[in-house]
Structures are given as C-alpha cells and as structure tokens.
Symmetry: C2
Subunit: 585 residues, 2 copies
Amino acid sequence: MYRTHTCGELNIQNVDENVKLSGWVQKSRDLGGMTFIDLRDRYGLTQLVFNMEKNEELCREARKLGREFVIQAEGTVAERSNKNPKMPTGEIEILVTSLKVLNASEHPPFTIEKDTDGGDELRMKYRYLDLRRVDVRKNLELRHRMSIEIRNYLSDEKFIEVETPVLIKSTPEGARDFVVPSRMNPGQFYALPQSPQTFKQLLMVAGFDRYFQIVKCFRDEDLRADRQPEFTQIDCEMSFVGRDDVLDAFEGLSNHLFKAIKDVEITEKYPKMPYSEALDRFGNDKPDTRFGMEINDIKELTAGKGFNVFDSAEYVRGICVEGCAEYSRKQLDELTDFVRKPQIGAKGLVYVKYNEAGSFKSSVDKFYTPDDLQKWADAMGAKPGDLMLVLAGETALTRKALSELRLEMGRRLELMDPDVFKPLWVVDFPLLEWDEETSRFHAMHHPFTRPYEEDLELFKSDPGKVRAMAYDLVINGVEIGGGSIRIHNEELQQQMFDNLGFTREEASRQFGFLMGAFRYGAPPHGGIAFGFDRWVALFAGLDSIRDTIAFPKNNAGRDVMIDTPSTISAEQLEELFLAVKSPTK
Amino acid sequence: MYRTHTCGELNIQNVDENVKLSGWVQKSRDLGGMTFIDLRDRYGLTQLVFNMEKNEELCREARKLGREFVIQAEGTVAERSNKNPKMPTGEIEILVTSLKVLNASEHPPFTIEKDTDGGDELRMKYRYLDLRRVDVRKNLELRHRMSIEIRNYLSDEKFIEVETPVLIKSTPEGARDFVVPSRMNPGQFYALPQSPQTFKQLLMVAGFDRYFQIVKCFRDEDLRADRQPEFTQIDCEMSFVGRDDVLDAFEGLSNHLFKAIKDVEITEKYPKMPYSEALDRFGNDKPDTRFGMEINDIKELTAGKGFNVFDSAEYVRGICVEGCAEYSRKQLDELTDFVRKPQIGAKGLVYVKYNEAGSFKSSVDKFYTPDDLQKWADAMGAKPGDLMLVLAGETALTRKALSELRLEMGRRLELMDPDVFKPLWVVDFPLLEWDEETSRFHAMHHPFTRPYEEDLELFKSDPGKVRAMAYDLVINGVEIGGGSIRIHNEELQQQMFDNLGFTREEASRQFGFLMGAFRYGAPPHGGIAFGFDRWVALFAGLDSIRDTIAFPKNNAGRDVMIDTPSTISAEQLEELFLAVKSPTK
C-alpha cells in the first residue's frame, strides 16, 4: 500500500495517528536541526518534518531530495506550533519515521508554481509538467465537473446521450474536412465530423425525441488564435418543438450550470435580441451587455456640413463614453491608433469632448458648430463630462470597428466585471449570406436550417432578407452556442439545396440519405450545439480555450509534446494506395 | 406547442382532461363506426379514438393515415371500456377532436415491429427506421444509463474525466492505425488512437491521480464478426497503486453497475485466476465459470496402449458431460462435426459413455480396457450416466478446440443461464508472446506493462515465462476489460523496448516523450480499459456489439446508410499533397 491518506485530508483530528503518504516534493527547507518538506499531490500539500537530533540518517536522506522527486513517507501526525490557516492541512505536520524514494526527478525545465518561469513553447513541450501546476489542473477539474453537471441535468430532462460515428462522409459544404483513407476500400476516404448534425437529425427521425452528446468535432482550418483542429461540442436535438421550446430547455441547462458551478442564480428570462438589432445597437452579433455604451446613428445629423469624410460615408455612428471628457491628447491618440490597427481597419477616429462646463471640443470643430454637436450629444444621450467617439465609412467594416472600440473602452473603464454574467439569445439570423469570392449565397448556419414561413416568398426577390429560425446563446460577448429549428420536409430541403446552388446530383450524393429519411415520417425538430471548450473558458475566466484542453495543439496544428503530425512508413502508404506528392510541385 | 403530454404518461388520473399529443401512427384499426389509432413516441403508445357518428369528417381523415405518419391530435382523455393492463396507458384513450398531419410517410421498407420482416442489409440501410423498433432503442437507452452510472460512480470515487486528443501520432506497434493527412504539414499524418494509453500515463505523471474517459478508439483491422473500426472504451488509470488496489477499485465499479442496472447484488470478492490455471482448467483465458465441466489431463493414463493418435499427441485431455451417456450416434456425430469445423480445427473426437449400469462404451474400445477407462473416469470425476469427450493433438490448437467443445456442450445443456453472472479476474498473463511470423517476442498486452520483479531474471533465459502484472475482467466468458500495472521507470522501459527488438532510435522516435516524462518524477501507476460496447451487449443479452451502437459499420467497414467511405474531390487530394495509386499496381 502506497498511502493511507492523500496529501489534502489530514487535520487536527488525526493527531497521533500513524500515516503513510505518497506524493511529489514541492519544496524543502533545511533549517539546520530540522528539514521541512512540502509533499504535494492532487488533493493538497502536507508538511513533512525531519529532525537531526531524532534521526540524523533519515534527515540527511531527506536533505538529498530534489524538487519533484516522488516519495513515500511514513510517520506520526503532530500538531504544528506554527500553524498555517490558509492550508486545509495547515494545523498539522508529519514527524517522519521512514522514507522511500519511489522515483527520482531531474531538475524540471521550468518551476512548477503558480507563476512559472517557463515560456509557452517550453510548457507545451513538457505539458505533463505544466499540468502539475494547480491553476492548469483546476481548469480541467472544472471541465470535468461541468461535464458531469451537464450530463446529469440533460439526462434528468430525458435527453439520451447517443454516440454518433467519427468515421463519416466528406461533404465539401462548410469548412474543410479532415479525411481518413480506407485501406479496405482503396481510393476511398472517411471524413471526421465537423459536427454530428445529420446524425442527430436522423436520431429525431428515429424517434429518439431528445438527444445529446458531448463530442469531439474536427475542422481543418488555418488556425487563428484560439482555434483548435479538434474541439468539443455539447450537441443537442429535440423533436416536436418550436423555437421557444428549445430556448427554454437550454436556458434551463445554462441556469443550472450557473448555479451548480458558479453559485450564480439567474432568475430573469434571457432577453431575445434579433440579429439586426444586435448589429444596430452593439455592432456585432454577440453583444457584451454587461455595459451600455450603445451605438448611435448620427449620419443624418452630420450630413451637408462640408465634412466630406462623413458625407461620403454609408455609416456614421458613435458611442458615448461616460465621464471621459477629460481624456488627454495622448489617450485620444492611443484610441486612434487602436482603431487604425490592421485587424480593426478604421481610417481614423472623430472625438467630441462634452466638457463639464457645457462646451464642446472636437476634432471636427472646423465643420460643426456647438449647436450641431449638441444635436449629436442629444442623439447619443451624452451629458457634460462625457466623450463621444465617432467612426465613419463602409457599413460592415465600420460597424465592426466601432464594436471593437466599444469593447476596448469597456476594458479600459473596467465595465466588464468577470463576476457578472449577462446571457442573451440572439435570434432571427439571416438564412443566407452573400459570399463575395464565389458570388453566391451560402447558408449562414447550415443548409438544414428552417426559414420563417412568412419569409419564403423573399427567396426569389431578396434572398439575403430571408430570416432563419436560428439562434445563438451569447454570454458576456462570447458565443457559447448556436442552433436552429430544422427543415423536416423533403420538398423544402430540396428547395434549399436548389437555392444554394447545389445540383440535384450533388445534393442527392451528399445528403440523399437525409432527404430519404424525411420521406418516412420525420417529426418537426430543432436543436443547438454549445462550444464546450469555450463555456469552460468562460467559467474559468480564461481568454483562450487552450488551457481548458489537456493536450492542445499549437497554431500550426502540431502537438509539440508527442511531435505529431509526422511521416508514416512507406508500407503504411502502400497499404493505403497513397503517394505523397512534393508540395513544391 | 406540439404536445401537452407524451404518449407514455396519460392514465386514469387524467380522465376528462383536454390534451394534445404528437407521434407516429403505429397502427390503425377501422371498425366501421369507430377508428382506433395507436400513437407512438419514445415514451409509449396511446390509443386515439375517432367516431363516425360524432365527427364523420375527422373519422374519414383518420382512416387515411398510413403507418409511420407523424400526426398531432387534440382531444379528451376518456376511460376505456376495454382496458389493456399490459400498457401503462392501457386504461385510457383519447376522444380526438382535432387532427393535424405533421408529416406523411411512404410505406416503410420493413415493418417497424418487434419481429420485423426486414433483412440485415435493408435495416442497416434504413438504420433510422430500424432504430424506431423498441428493442433496438432499448439497447441505446441502456447504453446511456450505463454511461451515466459509470461516470457518476467514478466521479464520486475522485476520478476525473479528461479528454485526450484524437489526432495523435502513428506507432507501428500493435494493430494498424487509421491515419489522417495534415494539410498544414504536407507529407505528414496524424493517427487516430487505438487507445489513449500513453496520454493517460502522462496524466499520471502530471499528478492527476485518478483519470477516466469514455472514449472512441480506432483500429484498422480486417473486420471479423463483431469488430468495429471505431469502438468505445471506458479508459481508467490510477497512481500510487498496486495490482489489488486497481482490482478492488474496479470491482467496485462492476458491482455498482450490476446493482444499478441489473438489480443483481454481487457480494463475494471476484476470484483471481492465474492465466495458466485458466488455460489448464477451461482451455482459454476468458473462462465462462457459470458451469463446471472442467478440462482434465489424461495423457499419462492413455499412454502406451497402442493408440498412436494419443501416444503421439502433446495434449490428451477431456471433459465430463454429466448425464449424457445416452447420447445417440447422431448426436455424437454432430459433436465430431463440430470439432472438425475449420474454425475449431480438431481432427476427431473420442467419446466414452459411462453407462448407468457401470459399463463403458467408447470409440477407442479397441485400445483401452474397461479398467483403463475406469481410470479416465476417476481422473475426470465421471460417474455412471456421464459422457466423456476427449481431444488430442498439439497443445495450443487442441486446448482451444476442447474449450470450444466445452462451451458448445454448455449451450446444448443450457448451462449458461443469462441471468446468472460470474465475474472473475484472470491475472498473471505472460509479458511476452512469441510471434511465429516475425520470429520474435511481442508484448502480449503492450510495451508499457510492468513485469513481476522476481521474474526479471527470466528475461535472458526464458522470456516467454516472464509474468506481467496484467489482468482481465471476465464475465460469463466475455472479456469485459483488461489492464496492468505500468512501468514507471525509464531504465526498465528502455530494457523492455530492447527486449522487444526496438532499436534505440525507434523507441526514442515513437515513445521518447513518455520516457522523457519518466525522468521528471513519474509515480507508480496502473489502470484498466473496458470495452464499453461489449459490456452493454452483455447487460442487454446480445451476442453482438452491433446493436449497442447507433450507427455501426458493416464487415467491410462501410456505413451503408450514408454510403461511406467514398471518393473525395481532386481538389481535396491536391490540398493534401496526395495521389491515389491504382490498387492493381
């Protein structure tokens, strides 16, 4: 037996007990007559004591132990004279009577402490050491607790977890698939699922009524920050539901998680904000509603005063930053630099200071009178002491830039309290979105999303205006999940494929099985999928999903710890009937 | 709103309530004045009633509904005159006042009933219809309940579920990997995991102490009956444990599942049977111990009597089949045919009838006297009325054939009660097994299995005799899981790779990250992995794992419903820097 207790459970009740502990040497202090060692395991730290007078030999052995040695120590629990109230085991220590080294350790490449001296690359290479750090482990413990809570909640709500296949069929729609050559079917490939979308719909056709799965999904995308080639979804689907049935069901899940994990009670219904309103008021479709500073349209008020930048712009809108009229030249320059960054892309920034005294000072005083600016202030709800920031230009780009500026101001003014959670549903997304590159409409969500009945006639006249029964769950500016009511009727599904420019043959080859299924009594159904990694990151207070994942890949899709991807043998390629071509060809 | 209730919940308490139900038409009966429809959903069946007198139009509409139509019906709950006590809803029916067809259905290709008329192939092609059959759905509901019980039990026992990566590194050891070409790393490949073995060991090095995961694993094998290219494991690992700590922990899990799912209380400790004993007594390493009929060695007793078949055989052993001395010529011929089947491979069968009167009648009376046969009977514990069956030949093959014969007799005599469960641990597997093809030793389990310390010296003299700290959980002749205590020491791991014929370079390239990890304080650890599909099949009383899987592949690794694997586009191949070679080349 390696231990009688873990390193996190002994306390004053255990004094005088003989115990055995195993764990890692966190640190050791040699005070001459005494040597103290903090022994660590997943459950905590316990102080071991070695005494030169009592047992010189043992004490000398203890002094030789390096950091991260794995040891086993037997001894008696004693009350500490110098208690540490911050540690659960801080009232006791172990007077060690025997010691065994279970495994030695080389000096680790970085310190295994809260604030480590290891850089990103080094920590990824030795991920198994990085995972020893309490903060990293806590994220994975949180992830585990969330998955247990999700599963039990959904199971109690009669959802059945069904495993859908990982080796499926490649469909060129959407992002790129990872493919898997089939040795038994030469020249043919499986694909890894980007989501179990069609399978969960088939489960509804099969009468499963309520399905969920916490499941790995795969996308072969050029990795931007915070994307992983494999990620985890909480995938859900329900039958005989309208939109609000789905939203109510998953508001229940979300509220349960907030209560069980964060001890946050959310009692109000989540607001439902149409996509168009979200863009209007916040400049994006995942608004952070922890603070206001909403976007105001002043295009009309700015027109015809000789300021060509505004006159020629589609979009002239601004935000009112409360109490910042005193911003310095330097601060305003910083903001201008911010909006001009390539990833933001605005050309410049117009500011108007509404001074405490009631006067205005702006970067466009040449063109606008105080009366003009007063009208802006009225439109933006600005009062003396506030700062107005205005951007102008082409709608989509400028709107996005203004949204980024709003978030930047929220950060600067600390309006984004990490302990406040503001969930909402963004609804009524457009069904289709125009793709410049291919000059055609694509499904914004996926081709199985149901359009509103009353919008169907717009298909011919103004396809971009057709609204979908689609929805996203947004919390604090993060898109946590999205879904839709699906098409369950073969004709409408066929019409969708037609509208998306699929030939009948393509549609049938790729999705014939689903349309076939619709012929045999498909119920109305809809669902949602949540980004599990992102939800964990939100609850853990992390900006990136990377530390919610035990063994993440880097931005080149590589696992630097195990060094993969890597070449495979000629025999393997031969068996798969494949040849690798030179990339330079 | 599509429904106020499901089809499984209305009863006599609900009489006179106005309700709305949605579901599938299971069947309809037209009795002239009345039409009855059984409406089905996942939760049950409810009888709908339409009355020609009360509402002729509605009744005529109802008569038009075909099987598997999806409908919505509103009406009043009424007490049935003709109650059906077998159905939870059998005391009531719905007097329908309005009816809506939500989706029509073509005539399904096979009947959606317990006993369907659909063949295997057809049911796989229309799997979404097959899944509507109650028995198939029940298997998946069982699977869900088992997964919930497993997760909650292990979580309560402080195991953390950690998701390990799916895109990992190809290692030629063991079965064939499925590989995934990397577009971002031309000419390089990921592999899909055959198990998360090395990752769970790294989690132990990381101090996670207790890990589990219910996880998809992949093996590119030529599919035999009841193998799937993707299958699900309950993968577990623990730190600071010896063998019996692991066995105790998972006996706990197993007992919990028996109680929670099958309402079977197992109070005795599971027997631990060494591998060599299992082979000796039962002829294989996964003995079905629901019945005796053990194997007895009679080599010595048969020698030197002029029967060359026995004299020249390594292995002469038999089983005693109780009370079957009366077997007819035809029955004995059937058994001879059975052992001669190519998959069994014995050359012939010797029988000895120990007649009720005390005389013997055997197929070898020419060579053996009644006294000789009496000695056999004594050795086998046979008594008058019993039948002795003896096989002889080369050890491994004959042992396997005798084991199959024993199981066949168990089936014929109905000794394998499906409601009796006899779990046991098979322990002390050989570390290495000789591979004729490559003329070298392979790891029987995997190269990370720890050998018994006292056997280490056999490595040089008799490697096949080295015992591993490995174990299997066997229930009713089915191997439900297997695991081992692992090597946690770099030198021993290196020695293992040396013994297995890895060059230092190969070992380092493939498993360098693990041996590296062992340098930084690896704790003693061990674990187990259970075949989840098989465990579900055992509890469901299924012979095959296929119906524990929602969307299984066929024996050629194909999903005939979605028609995959399939060809991919030239653009996809181009992007991956791959060319498909002709298989005939």
